[in-house]
């Protein structure tokens, strides 16, 4: 396959051509309560050709079958000549790469039998419903995928990767005296089945959380000290820092200018596509660049953006290995695994001097509205006299995305990578898998209550 595509790219009449082809196969299983749903197999493939030449724009053409790639190259070149302007820039020069990154057989999801996958879901459903009689409904979704990606360029780059993914998400709904509450959790692993089994072994905690929330009182809107758990801190870093550091400039907000101070010197946020086993990790990005660890906010100051080869050239910097697309969409700068770096304080130290505050954990959503961020906690507790107290519900951390980092006054020393099945849908495009990592984070006088 690589040789055929490489030859096509080499023969392209355009000044630059790249060809990316994906093939994916997997299965999706669903379970509502104790009832199994219909398994849905996934098997698709598709590719994209990009062409550009001096004085032309980009031409992009899709193809389904590798046999149609030659025609797609010709069409993409033709379309590039129609592109309506000619002064956008160059591609950053990079050395040609050659490499193959296969999936170890023991990590191929297809090696796990369908019966084992169905049994795992049945076990999880039973564990949820047996945990408490107030659990009245549940939903479990298991999805796996083995994605093969080939990328070649007319500059001679020739790469192939076979990447496994397994995801499991669970929802538990508790009901008592007309009140309903729900708890959500998920896990994504790179083909490590035993990690899913271990996670299912602890799924009873989800039922406990849903039940606990039945007694939770609604949060009172106001400004209070807030401590975020590593999941909430990681999501905040992804949405409120990462999304404002895309270097290709078509985000509604941003990019935040390099040199802008957004937080205290103890705050460092970055993106690292190299961490083994995480949801956002890849061997090469969709322009053939190796992902790397890029500090975006260092000691509270914006120091870099995430780049594709195109945006890197416009900015006069090196590409960061963050170009990600989908089988039928051109790559844009996207995050991989976004993190808040480890600080110095323990969780006890973060909580100790808070007379009254809120602990927000397990976020269920983060949304932007009119330039304001709203991070909804799936689980929250009052902090009273330095200790975690009663649960509350409806807690949403709200504020200007960058200004929220200005409220950080302590960073925990308990950094961890989160393994939830997160996806990022930049600007309504196709979702790509991402991860986050963070320690606990403390914010002073943050607005909690109504979403922005």
């Amino acid at each position: 396959m690589r040789e055929t595509l490489l030859a096509l790219a080499g023969r392209s009449p355009a000044g630059f051509t790249d060809i990316r082809y994906h093939r994916r196969r997997g299965i999706r299983l669903e379970r509502h309560g104790r009832e199994a749903g219909t398994p849905i197999p996934t098997e698709d493939s598709g590719g994209l050709v990009r062409c550009t030449s001096p004085g032309a724009g980009w031409g992009i053409a899709s193809f389904r079958d590798p046999g149609e790639a030659g025609a797609a190259v010709a069409l993409a070149h033709e379309l590039s000549l129609l592109a309506p302007a000619a002064a956008a820039g160059q591609l950053t020069e990079v050395p040609a790469r050659d490499g193959e990154f296969p999936c170890p057989a023991q990590r191929d999801p297809a090696q796990v039998s369908m019966a084992a996958k169905e049994d795992l879901l049945a076990l999880a459903a039973a564990a949820l419903h047996d945990a408490d009689r107030r659990i009245v409904a549940s939903r479990l979704v298991y999805q796996d995928l083995l994605e093969d990606t080939w990328l070649v360029t007319s500059e001679g780059t020739s790469l192939a990767e076979s990447r496994p993914r397994m995801e499991l998400s669970a929802l538990a709904i508790a009901e008592e005296e007309g009140t309903r509450e729900r708890a959500l959790d998920s896990i994504a692993v790179a083909g490590a089945w035993f990690d899913l089994e271990e996670w299912i072994g602890r799924i009873g905690h989800l039922a406990e959380k849903a039940v606990l929330l039945l007694r939770a009182v609604p949060v009172r809107p106001g400004r209070v000290p807030v401590v975020l758990d590593p999941l909430a801190a990681g999501l905040l870093a992804h949405r409120c820092a990462g999304h404002l550091c895309h270097g290709d400039r078509d985000e509604d907000q941003g990019p935040a200018p390099v040199g802008l101070r957004v937080g205290p010197p103890l705050l460092t946020i970055g993106d690292d596509g190299t961490v083994p086993g995480l949801h956002g990790t890849m061997a090469f990005d969709h322009e053939g660049i190796s992902p790397r660890n890029t500090a975006l906010i260092q000691n509270g100051v914006v120091v870099a953006h995430l780049h594709t080869r195109v945006s890197a050239d416009l900015a006069g910097v090196a590409p960061t290995g963050n170009a990600r697309g989908s089988p039928l969409a051109a790559p844009r700068a996207r995050m991989t695994n976004t993190y808040v770096a480890r600080g110095k304080d323990s969780l006890d130290e973060l909580l100790r001097d808070i007379p009254l505050g809120l602990y927000l954990a397990e976020p269920v959503s983060v949304r932007m509205s009119g330039g304001e961020a709203g991070l909804g906690a799936g689980y929250a507790r009052v902090i009273r006299n330095g200790a975690l107290a009663e649960p509350v519900r409806g807690a949403v951390l709200a504020g200007d995305p960058l200004a929220l980092f200005g409220l950080v006054d302590r960073v925990g020393n308990d950094f961890r990578w989160n393994r939830d099945a997160s996806r990022c849908r930049r600007g309504g495009g196709e979702a790509v898998p991402v991860s986050t990592g963070a320690p606990h984070l403390r914010l002073v006088e943050a607005h909690v209550g109504e979403p922005a």
Binding site: A36, T38, L82, A88, E118, S365, G370, E450, P451
Partner: protein
């Protein structure tokens, strides 16, 4: 080909139905800081559902052979839940226009010219304008083992822009229709953009209080979308939570038969002939949408709102959502507001649409005094809840404007809490 798929599935199943959709899309994008792009993508997607051995199986494909697709669906049925598919029988299709020849012949050059013509009209100093134009054409075919075999051609042409000015979030506008945009539609985009660029002072602070709010049709469409989702979530079936009554001036309809609109179609992906469904009448929920499977679960017939994508379970999906025009002439919305706030664009309330305490912010809202726009708020936050706001509608405009697959007139709301900060 879809008949052949059913022929292959027929002898091995008790019942089967399938949908095939093909699309050919050309997109043109250009603007500052964006490398100009012309792209073309083609896609054919299948979804097959079978009842075999009394169990439900399904499979999707974008590239597999038909035999493989049948095999996969049957494999799924072996471990699928017990299910009985009640498939529709053939019926005459209603008359609705879903495609246009003029759209079908648009090529990359035409779309580039269309985008450039819009950019030229709205470009100028102290602003960045990025434009896009897109044309999709294709065909949808549905068939089932009870004899349904139907299809329709479809086209869609979109034209839009993103306007960026100092001190405000970008302003997104677009129009989308079965036909290429008319001069009137392009002129409306230009007018809306020029309104946003109206040279008025920027206001930093608005004291939180109760105001009269005028929602331009595009902002009203965001509320309509939220209401539509609420109706779907909270009123879907006899056991669901009823919605409180809204303003008696509000009427909401799902209309797949609106001529030449984004979501128009004569038959759904389940093979059920489509029809208009009244969702809200005089502020009260009176109906909801079903597909075959949810209808089966609720003991109701499908309303023709089934949607199927290749690798997902079937789902209920809206066609065109229409807030019915009212009796008020709101052509001059500032004059009707008198003293208050005019909101041009409002973000969707999103997943918290049912929350009683909701705040939605927009930088595209204006102060109105003595019937004139006298300033733009740097940021305006509406507070309360979607249901509360929809209960306070005091006037519904008499002219519909389409925003994608949602049509709404302008609305005037009284006593809405608003301020500069969340």
């Amino acid at each position: 080909m879809i008949r052949r798929l059913l022929d292959l599935a027929g002898p091995r199943t008790e019942a089967a139905d399938a949908v095939r959709g093909e699309d050919d899309t050309i997109t043109v994008q250009s603007g500052p800081g964006v490398w100009p792009v012309v792209s073309r993508t083609e896609c054919t997607a299948w979804h097959l559902r079978v009842q075999a051995g009394g169990r439900l199986g399904m499979a999707g494909s974008v590239d597999a052979g038909l035999e493989t697709l049948v095999d996969r669906a049957l494999t799924g049925a072996r471990s699928g839940p017990p299910f009985r598919l009640h498939l529709p029988v053939p019926s005459p299709l209603p008359n609705v226009r879903t495609h246009s020849r003029a759209a079908g012949v648009l090529g990359g050059r035409d779309l580039a010219d269309l985008a450039a013509s819009l950019a030229t009209r709205v470009d100028g100093p102290a602003r960045n304008v990025a434009v896009w134009a897109e044309r999709t054409m294709g065909r949808v075919e549905v068939a089932n083992s009870r004899g349904v075999l139907a299809g329709y051609d479809r086209t869609l042409v979109g034209l839009g822009l993103r306007l960026t000015v100092p001190d405000a979030l970008p302003f997104h506008l677009h129009t989308a229709n079965v036909d290429p945009p008319s001069l009137e539609q392009i002129e409306r985009l230009v007018e809306e953009t020029r309104f946003a660029l109206h040279p008025v002072p920027v206001i930093d602070d608005l004291e939180t209080g109760e105001y009269t709010i005028g929602l331009a049709p595009r902002a009203a469409a965001a509320l309509a979308a939220g209401l539509d989702r609420l109706v779907a979530e909270l009123s879907g079936g006899p056991a669901a939570t009823p919605l409180p009554p809204l303003s008696p001036l509000l009427n909401l309809t799902d209309d797949p038969l609106a001529d030449g609109c984004c979501g128009s179609r004569p038959i759904d992906d389940d093979g059920v002939v489509t029809r208009r469904v009244a969702l809200v009448r005089e502020g009260r929920v009176v109906g909801w949408r079903c597909d075959l499977q949810t209808g089966e679960a609720l003991g109701m017939p499908s309303t023709g709102h089934g949607a199927r994508r290749p690798f997902s379970p079937p789902r209920v999906a809206p066609s065109n959502t229409v807030v019915e025009a009212g009796a008020s002439d709101l052509t001059n919305l500032p004059a009707r507001i008198g003293r208050g706030i005019l909101v041009q664009v409002l973000p969707s309330p999103g997943t918290r649409r049912a929350a009683p305490h909701l705040a939605v912010s927009t930088p595209w809202a204006y102060r109105v005094e003595r019937g004139e726009v006298t300033g733009r708020f740097r940021r305006l936050t509406l507070k309360g809840g979607l249901l509360e706001w929809l209960g306070r509608v005091q006037a519904v405009g008499d002219r519909l404007q389409w925003s994608g697959a949602i049509a709404s007139p302008a609305l005037v709301l009284e006593g809405i809490t608003a301020g500069s900060r969340p």
